[in-house]
């Protein structure tokens, strides 16, 4: 039971890092970026390349991947999303589906379809009471903590972070007040893509890297984002953690093959009962017809 709780915590941490980037884009750019899952895929493949081919340590590989996938996200935003920005959220959404396909196909072309896994020594399990946990697994939860703290500092302590928050809450006012919208957009894409890439590595570490990794993650990311209330970053983090725990704890009582079903069942129930998300306080007017 406690052991399952730890696995849930790890799944939740990974999902939270992935979903945070997605929520960030939803909040500042105003659309659901279906291609976000493919950032995870690219990150996972790059991570494997960096550790196995270049022999980088896992931490260094993670940092390099963060930068690479972040840059890729900025590039995608400039090349693919900017030209159709004026056409509204739904054109952007379908463009992102197109981009997801292109990134998916591109990853297979570059990295192949073989199932890869990280050649990383997890170290000896440390026993905490009845729970066994390896240093790498502690590291995964650590990455989540660092990501939260980093984002908090970024949003609340830096000028750029303030700009991002201003743009998210009222883009027109922010522009009028002289916030450099281009810089904000680029930095948001960079952070979102980078976090996606790191989440991809963590997913790969936790199981293996397959070409379907991105699509599978997209579903769970969407679920977590809606559970947390679209675009509410901390709500989404909490929801992702909740989802990770529920999916793992559910395996204690029902067949493991139903665990993703539990996540989506929870999503549908929440949407129907409380569409503003379980962790949000105020009811938002845009939801109800």
């Amino acid at each position: 039971m406690l052991q399952t709780l730890v696995f849930g915590l790890i799944t939740g941490s990974i999902l939270a890092i992935a979903a945070t980037g997605f929520a960030l884009i939803r909040q500042t750019e105003g659309f659901l970026n279906i291609a976000h899952g493919q950032f995870l895929l690219v990150g996972a493949y790059l991570g494997v390349e960096f550790t196995s081919k270049l022999g980088l340590g896992i931490v260094l590989a993670g940092l390099v991947t963060f930068v690479c996938v972040g840059a890729l996200a900025v590039l995608c935003a400039r090349l693919v999303f900017d030209p159709v920005r004026e056409r509204g959220a739904l054109v952007l959404l379908f463009t992102s589906i197109g981009l997801a396909y292109v990134l998916y196909a591109g990853s297979i072309l570059v990295f192949g379809v073989d199932i890869l896994s990280f050649d990383v020594d997890f170290g000896n399990a440390i026993m905490l009471g009845s729970v066994a946990i390896t240093p790498v697994e502690i590291g995964m939860i650590g990455v989540f903590v660092v990501a939260i703290l980093g984002l908090m500092l970024f949003f609340n302590r830096t000028r750029l972070g303030t700009w991002v928050r201003a743009t998210a809450s009222n883009p027109d006012l922010a522009r009028v007040r002289g916030v450099p919208v281009g810089v904000v957009s680029a930095s948001v894409w960079f952070v979102a893509g980078g976090l996606g890439g790191v989440a991809g590595i963590l997913l790969g570490l936790n199981s293996s890297v397959t070409s379907e990794l991105g699509w599978n993650a997209t579903m769970l990311i969407l679920a977590a984002t809606v559970l947390g209330g679209l675009g509410r970053i901390y709500g989404v983090m909490a929801a992702a953690m909740f989802l990770g725990l529920v999916m793992n704890l559910a395996t204690e009582v029902i067949d493991p093959s139903y665990s993703t079903l539990v996540a989506f069942g929870a999503l549908i129930i929440v949407l129907l009962i409380r569409p503003e998300g379980i962790f949000s306080i105020e009811r938002r007017r845009e939801i109800a017809a």
Binding site: G88, L93, V102, A105, L109, F264, L267, I268, L272, I287
Partner: protein, 340 residues
């Protein structure tokens, strides 16, 4: 040479199936403005209901339910069940707007797919159900059956086209487009907007139920993997290419897209390049989607053109509203919206 023709007949049949689905999506998403990402789910339900209803228990002893009904009864059952499921999904979720409806239907489709995989006593699990019977199969010799299926599919697509044309120009169609473009106005005219949305979604479900058996006949089998999000996105891409809200667009977009992606399969390559070839389909799909949305967001055929003749000078086109993907200034015939 006959190989080429046979291959082409098969491709056209698949294109026809997608053309039918795209026309149905055009009803709910194009005119109704319901952003449905759950088409794979409804098609999957319809396909499995039809299959389970028509297979005989002696051929599939591992299934809990195998009714062995005649094919027409199976189709009717699939239409009824799929319509009811759509109604059940629609009633609660159509209270929610745009993005939320989109995610609910997306999640619904994923739940359906997981259930198909897990409920193996009903669905045959990941292996699916293979070697299914098809109508008129005894009447013709092996290879020629493709032409029979192509003819049936063609007839269905044409029938759907005229049905949709009729429906689109009816007061019901006008009301649908008016609530999409200007909901307060439709409400002010005394229309129960949510009820019409639910009805439209349920009608789309019934139509999917009628069409899905074609897909089953084409494939001769049902497997959960066929009903993944990829199906939904392909139908959407076909609709976007053809032109959302137009009459001819969905079918022509589907034929164009399927011929484009299936033509690749015709190339004979060695195993080394097979992976390369397999990635061409998603690559093409993605590129086409991105490029069409950027260069010709209204699609090949536009909604404006489709309804042009019917627009009288008095009812001038109103300002483009949120629901039109291509932000096309769709002419509304609100004056005809009464009495439906």
């Amino acid at each position: 040479m006959t190989g080429v023709i046979l291959f082409f007949a098969g491709t056209l049949t698949l294109a026809g199936v997608y053309a039918a689905l795209a026309q149905i999506l055009n009803l709910s998403a194009g005119w109704g403005g319901l952003w449905d990402l759950g088409m794979a789910g409804t098609v999957g339900i319809a396909a499995y209901v039809y299959t389970v209803a028509t297979v005989s228990p002696s051929e599939f002893p591992n299934l809990d339910v195998a009714l062995g009904l005649p094919i027409p009864v199976g189709i009717a059952l699939s239409a009824v069940v799929t319509g009811l499921v759509a109604l059940l999904i629609g009633i609660p979720s159509l209270r929610l707007r745009g993005e939320y409806f989109l995610i609910t239907t997306f999640a619904f489709a994923e739940v359906v797919r997981q259930l198909m995989i897990n409920q193996s006593s009903l669905t045959g699990g990941t292996v699916g159900l293979n070697r299914l019977d098809r109508p008129f199969e005894d009447a013709v010799t092996g290879g020629n059956y493709r032409y029979v299926l192509l003819a049936i599919t063609f007839a269905v697509v044409v029938a759907l086209y005229f049905f949709m044309r009729r429906l689109g120009r009816s007061p019901f169609g006008a009301l649908l487009r008016s609530q999409r473009d200007n909901e307060p106005l439709a409400k002010a005219l005394g229309k129960d907007v949510v009820r019409y949305r639910v009805l439209t979604f349920a009608l789309a479900g019934v139509l999917v139920g009628l069409v899905a058996p074609l897909y089953v006949w084409y494939l001769k089998r049902v497997v959960p993997d066929l009903f993944a999000a990829d199906l939904t996105f392909t139908v959407w891409t076909a609709l976007v290419i053809g032109g959302i809200g137009s009459f001819r667009g969905p079918a022509i977009g589907a034929v164009f897209l399927i011929c484009l992606t299936e033509a690749l399969q015709f190339l004979q390559v060695d195993a080394e390049h097979a992976v390369l070839l397999a990635t061409m389909r998603p690559l093409l799909l993605g590129l086409v989607l991105i490029l069409v949305l950027r260069l010709r967001p209204e699609g090949l055929f536009t909604e404006r053109r489709a309804f042009q003749r019917r627009t009288s000078p008095r009812t001038a086109p109103l300002a483009p509203q949120r629901a039109a993907l291509a932000s096309s200034p769709a002419a509304m015939e609100t004056s005809e919206g009464s009495g439906s």
